[in-house]
């Protein structure tokens, strides 16, 4: 579904993606973690070409992203993206936030688009908030509307960039619940997150990145509990406060 082949990217002379090779198949849930500045967001944003790459190739659902003839709107219509800061349209109600793209891109009529949006609002548990403006919604509610907005385009792939890290702790679960149910339905998902519970529950693979490189890839228990690479080990023990087996060995 998504394939990175020897991808490199520079911001000026800052090498943010170093020789990325990664293949994600249909229905897979990938969690990306790593320290701040590692290039996780950049990696995610290359998938729908919000960022372009300088070298290598990315193939998404058969479309070659470095090919200038690739239709970007068609590509992006297939890929939903959820942002850390929600990025809901502040001048539109929850319902209108969801119906805008289906109406303008897919050409749905007002009635059809509204019906679909109401179904999605129901799914994220916000039917009663349909006419609220984003400022009137809590962070958790905003993020759920944002997820519904992406789903309204019926994407084949969903990208999440730290969807819960701007939320108060008590609001995180309502968002994660929606994401878990999505994962269970077989959506292909790439999620940048440090929610270890989420990763352990639904992630097929965890990718650890540091300094623009993929350091280690594996199933959640391997990466979180028994990482091989010292950089991964350091990160896991400092962020998740998990006593890492290897580290205690070294300390002795």
């Amino acid at each position: 579904m998504i394939k990175f082949i020897a991808t490199n990217k520079w911001f000026h002379n800052h090498h943010v993606l170093r020789n990325i090779n990664l293949e994600i198949s249909k229905g897979e849930v990938i969690v990306i973690c790593g320290p701040s500045g590692a290039g996780k967001s950049t990696l995610l944003r290359t998938i729908n070409k919000l960022e372009s790459i300088d070298d290598g190739e990315i193939i998404v659902d058969g479309m070659y992203l470095s090919d200038p003839k690739t239709d970007l709107t068609a590509l992006r219509a297939e890929i939903g993206m959820v942002f850390q800061h929600f990025n809901l349209y502040p001048h539109k109600t929850a319902l209108k936030n969801i119906t805008l793209a289906p109406r303008k891109v897919r050409g749905l009529g007002k009635k059809q688009a509204t019906e679909k949006a109401l179904k999605l609002l129901e799914r994220v548990g916000l039917t009663h908030r349909r006419d609220a403006f984003p400022v009137q919604l809590s962070g958790g509610e905003q993020q759920r509307v944002a997820i519904a907005r992406s789903l309204a385009m019926e994407p084949k792939i969903m990208l999440f960039d730290e969807p819960t890290s701007a939320l108060d702790p008590e609001l995180i679960n309502e968002v994660l619940d929606v994401m878990v149910s999505l994962a269970k339905e077989g959506m292909t998902m790439v999620v940048v997150t440090h929610e270890i519970g989420f990763a352990q529950k639904v992630a097929d693979r965890v990718v650890f990145m540091d300094d623009g490189e993929i350091i280690e890839t594996g199933i959640p228990p391997d990466i979180f509990v028994n990482p091989q690479h010292p950089r991964t080990r350091n990160f896991m023990s400092s962020v998740f406060h998990i006593p890492v087996f290897g580290e205690t060995e070294e300390e002795k």
Partner: protein, 265 residues
């Protein structure tokens, strides 16, 4: 001399010699301002939008134009077009059109800056969100970015339009028969009515400007610009005053004086 006689020229102030002759007076100010606003909006939006381009061959001419106009007094621009337009189009350009064109050229530069600031103030994430749902750039600008930018721009636009309306009075210098000109004519021909003449000008400009601000405020309320609390006209900040008006009963800046908090919701 009685009061009615003092203001016997009221029709001249309001409409010039209109039913018999040409439109003039306050009505002419309104027409000039209206035309200048309409044309300069189109030109100003294009200019402000292009000014944001990263392509130097688009951006630099825009900057040059904006900076040139903004560093020139309006009266110079009016003179300039007064002499320049007939040169281009032959002698048959009326002073009215030469005035409208100058006002338009002048206004566009200022509007361009308002437009630019408004678009820049919309967070980048909004465009990314719109693009990531598959919307085209055109649709993203039209339905997501510009409506938000417009809301941010509206208060600046209004205050600029009000000042542009007042600036139409400068065109008397090339002989446009607008309110100032009518007042000056009357005060020269009938010196006994000089006070009434200047008072009529003042009232005329005040009534129109006040109406414009009032209508704008209602529009702003309707489209909800006031969720930006800082630009609500009735907002006040007593705690920032060197000598606060309200005696503090409790403590802390959090406690808003009653004048600000009463019905802000």
């Amino acid at each position: 001399m009685d009061l009615l006689d003092q203001f016997s020229n009221i029709n001249f102030y309001l409409f010039g010699t209109f039913p018999k002759g040409e439109v003039g007076g306050l009505l002419l100010n309104i027409i000039m301002a209206f035309l200048a606003i309409c044309f300069s909006c189109v030109f100003g939006i294009m200019l402000g939008y292009s000014r944001l381009s990263c392509r130097l061959y688009i951006k630099l001419p825009c900057i040059a134009y904006i900076e040139l106009v903004r560093s020139t007094p309006l009266i110079m621009i009016i003179f300039w077009f007064y002499f320049f337009l007939p040169y281009l189009f032959g002698g048959n350009v009326t002073v009215f059109w030469s005035a409208v064109v100058s006002l338009c050229a002048y206004a566009a530069a200022y509007q361009a800056e308002i437009v630019r600031a408004g678009i820049m103030a919309v967070p980048k994430g909004q465009l990314e969100a719109a693009l990531s749902t598959g919307m085209s750039r055109y649709n993203a600008m039209r339905y997501v970015i510009l409506p938000q930018a417009f809301k941010i721009m509206l208060p600046s636009f209004v205050s600029f339009f009000v000042s542009l309306f007042k600036d139409t009075s400068v065109t008397y210098i090339i002989g446009v028969m607008e309110l100032t000109q009518t007042g000056i004519i009357v005060s020269q021909r009938q010196p006994d009515k000089i006070y009434a003449a200047y008072l009529s000008m003042a009232i005329g400009f005040w009534v129109v400007c006040f109406t414009m601000s009032h209508l704008a405020r209602r529009l702003e309320k309707r489209i909800g610009v006031f969720d930006l609390e800082s630009i609500r006209p009735d907002a006040c900040r007593d705690e920032f005053m060197l000598v606060p008006k309200t005696k503090k009963t409790g403590e802390g800046v959090d406690e808003t004086p009653s004048c600000c908090s009463s019905d802000s919701k």
